[in-house]
């Protein structure tokens, strides 16, 4: 099949864009999920949409393609473009403009009347144009009704269709808000669609620590939000991120946990079969099937609230036992930002001042090993570290010893 710039299926491009953006060191031959030709086509598409952010390097392993962008310096997430590349037929685009044109003056017409007008006022001018029957038009009208572009009204035995413009917000007043929320909201891609309709967007915002990859999971997120809003169970088709193995889980979706420090997003849901709360990474979800309404939704939500009290991140540890952790920090005069840091960055627990230059952080969490990356940010100031789970302090000390060896700091000093 000849190459086309647009795509029918999002799943494959989602996977390639993630590879190019996060990793970017694989050569063409290492993309083994599909054929080499498929790789060439996907790479060409991404280049067509995001050429300015694409780079490559050549080494002994071959040519590698990668996406590289400092998201602090750009006002708009370039990955949103992938959602604007859906393929369609000639009939789709033609009917889109014809139908909205016919109904543009606010009238309400039946499928038959719209079909007649399309044939007489538009298609009759093109001798070689496609043939059109009423059922095709009716199908398109129903599709547009479900999207909210048209409203159906009963008139006797007929169904009439009318555009829904009359009850719209004035988008011009949203221009600045759209520039902000298109980037900051988890479903910002919708804001990007709206911004496209506005013309010149506001350019006054930039975003630090701005993770843009989540945009590729927007469709999945949207499905989950609809299920949560309707309090429905969902059947998830997942693919393990390492082994690539596919599997299914049926859960009651409750919350979306988002990391502002890695960009990862997780669904927290009640897993019926396992009878417990489980996290699923959104980028591992391939498909969602909406299930039945869940009568116990409030019960599960209350469970989630209790569960959340001792979560540091998204690890539930082993057997849900709590780890008790204490870290004593020493800082110099003039470094009062250190206790301030503890207070603003801690997610649970408490901070107590021991003297003018010493403070202690204490917390009880399901899995204290999840805290290690944060604890290490205080390297150089940790006077004492205690944990009821000795594996945590052991890991900290081993890592410190290895770092001392890496940087030539006399690792023997660490016990």
């Amino acid at each position: 099949m000849a190459y086309r710039e647009l795509i029918k299926n999002f799943a494959r491009i989602r996977s390639y864009m993630r590879e190019f953006y996060v990793y970017g060191f694989k050569s063409r031959e290492e993309y083994t999920e599909k054929s080499v030709r498929s790789y060439d086509n996907e790479r060409r598409r991404v280049e067509s949409w995001l050429g300015e952010h694409m780079s490559f390097h050549q080494d002994a392993g071959g040519k590698t393609v990668f996406l590289s962008v400092d998201s602090r310096h750009i006002p708009h997430n370039p990955l949103h473009k992938a959602f604007k590349a859906k393929s369609f037929t000639g009939k789709d685009i033609t009917l889109h403009f014809y139908i909205l044109d016919i109904l543009a003056d606010g009238c309400a017409l039946s499928a038959g009347e719209i079909t007649d007008r399309i044939c007489t006022a538009y298609l009759s001018r093109f001798p070689d144009a496609f043939a059109l029957d009423e059922s095709t038009v009716r199908k398109k009208l129903k599709e547009y009704e479900s999207l909210g572009l048209l409203r159906a009204e009963k008139s006797g035995r007929e169904v009439l269709y009318r555009r829904t413009d009359s009850v719209h917000p004035v988008l011009d007043s949203w221009k600045d808000a759209l520039a902000f929320f298109s980037e900051e909201d988890p479903l910002g891609v919708i804001g990007s669609f709206l911004t496209d309709a506005l013309g010149e967007p506001f350019d006054g915002f930039r975003f630090k620590h701005h993770y843009i990859l989540h945009a590729l999971d927007s469709d999945i997120l949207c499905e989950l939000l609809l299920a949560i809003d309707e309090r429905r169970a969902v059947e998830l088709t997942l693919q393990s991120l390492r082994g690539k193995k596919e599997y299914q889980r049926t859960v009651c979706p409750l919350k979306i946990y988002r990391s502002t420090q890695s960009g990862r997003q997780y669904l927290l849901g009640y897993h019926y079969r396992g009878r417990r709360m489980v996290f699923f990474r959104l980028d591992s979800i391939r498909q969602i099937r909406q299930g039945e309404p869940e009568k116990q939704f409030d019960t599960y939500l209350a469970l989630q609230k209790r569960f959340d009290r001792h979560l540091w991140g998204v690890s539930t540890g082993i057997e849900r036992r709590l780890d008790h952790l204490e870290m004593t920090i020493r800082y110099s005069p003039g470094e009062e930002f250190i206790p301030r840091r503890l207070r603003r960055e801690k997610r649970h627990g408490r901070v107590e001042m021991l003297d003018e230059q010493t403070c202690r952080f204490t917390a009880d969490v399901y899995d204290a090993s999840e805290m290690l990356p944060w604890l290490r940010t205080f390297t150089g100031r940790i006077l004492e570290l205690k944990c009821s789970n000795p594996a945590v302090t052991d890991q900290f000390q081993q890592d410190l010893k290895r770092m001392a060896e890496l940087y030539g700091g006399g690792g023997d000093a660490v016990q």
Partner: protein
């Protein structure tokens, strides 16, 4: 759902073409220029041909639109539900939006469905009237290219007031704070909006009076030793930087990150958070900073168990 042609680039480009071709025929050159300006880089291979061959019967032989009106599209239900959801976000108070037309719309989600579990706790006060007024004044000044007199508390509590040219507002989801990048008489300043006590709009400035502040970019070279899923954790964590990764050998990767030197301390603790999975190779100054932290820590040994 979101991946639909009605939101797509091609529909938007064709709408722009039909808008311009509503009043007068388009030249071939103008048709191509519109596609080049608004479409993807290879859209010129498809859209002009489909419109001119009648495959998409929307332009007549003289390249004039066959539609009776300039094309417009109502908002979809999903778009309206998303806008309605934003109205429950405390940050919407910063913007003067007209919410009429959304009264009967069900929000797509409630803000508490999201749990930003590692967001810092001292975010900006989005419901404070003074903060809101200052935010809107800053936004207006940026939009209208006007100077500002701004008063704020410095880090040490000292009061400052000066006239500046506001360049842009920067938001950090991790800090949940806005900062203003502004040029004063002598220097470029980052001002936490949460510390601003008053803002006064002044006269417009000539474009020549201002050029965007330059950043001082440095390159950090890291060697990643892939263990404990370190490869994915590190690459995702630093994915918002301009970066390049090369595999040096099995389980060993070199990562080059370009960063703003003003953010060096923050980057240092982020590198430290990965422990021995990340080894700093350059610049030397950065290596020295890591070494000092480790030496200080070793000074506290043995760590209590």
């Amino acid at each position: 759902m979101l991946f639909s042609e009605i939101y797509g680039s091609y529909f938007r480009v064709v709408a722009a073409i039909l808008t311009e071709a509503a009043d007068a025929p388009l030249t071939q050159a103008r048709l191509t220029a519109l596609v080049r300006e608004k479409g993807f880089s290879e859209s010129t291979l498809t859209i002009p041909r489909a419109l001119q061959t009648g495959e998409w019967p929307l332009l007549d032989d003289s390249r004039r639109s066959v539609l009776r009106h300039k094309p417009t599209m109502p908002l979809t239900l999903l778009e309206k539900r998303w806008l309605k959801a934003l109205l429950a976000d405390p940050r919407i108070a910063l913007f003067d939006v007209d919410a009429s037309g959304l009264e009967d719309v069900q929000p797509l989600y409630s803000p508490d469905v999201f749990v930003p579990f590692d967001r810092y706790a001292d975010g900006d006060p989005y419901e404070d009237p003074v903060y809101i007024a200052c935010f809107r004044t800053v936004l207006q000044a940026i939009r209208e290219r006007r100077k500002l007199r701004i008063s704020f508390r410095g880090k040490n509590g000292t009061h400052h007031s000066f006239v500046c040219i506001p360049h842009r507002l920067e938001y950090s989801a991790k800090d949940d704070k806005f900062r203003l990048l502004a040029s004063g008489k002598h220097a470029v300043n980052w001002i936490n909006l949460g510390r601003v006590s008053s803002c006064t709009l002044l006269e417009a400035y000539p474009p020549a009076a201002f050029s965007p502040p330059q950043t001082h970019t440095e390159e950090l070279v890291l060697m990643l030793h892939d263990e404990r899923n370190g490869l994915e954790r590190v690459l995702l964590h630093f994915s918002h930087f301009e970066k390049e990764t090369r595999r040096k050998s099995e389980g060993e990767y070199e990562i080059r990150i370009r960063y703003d030197r003003d953010d060096e301390t923050e980057l240092l603790i982020r590198v430290l958070s990965f422990g021995p999975v990340l080894e700093v190779k350059a610049p030397d100054r950065f290596i020295q900073l890591v070494r000092e932290r480790i030496q200080n820590q070793l000074g506290y040994t043995p760590l209590g168990v």
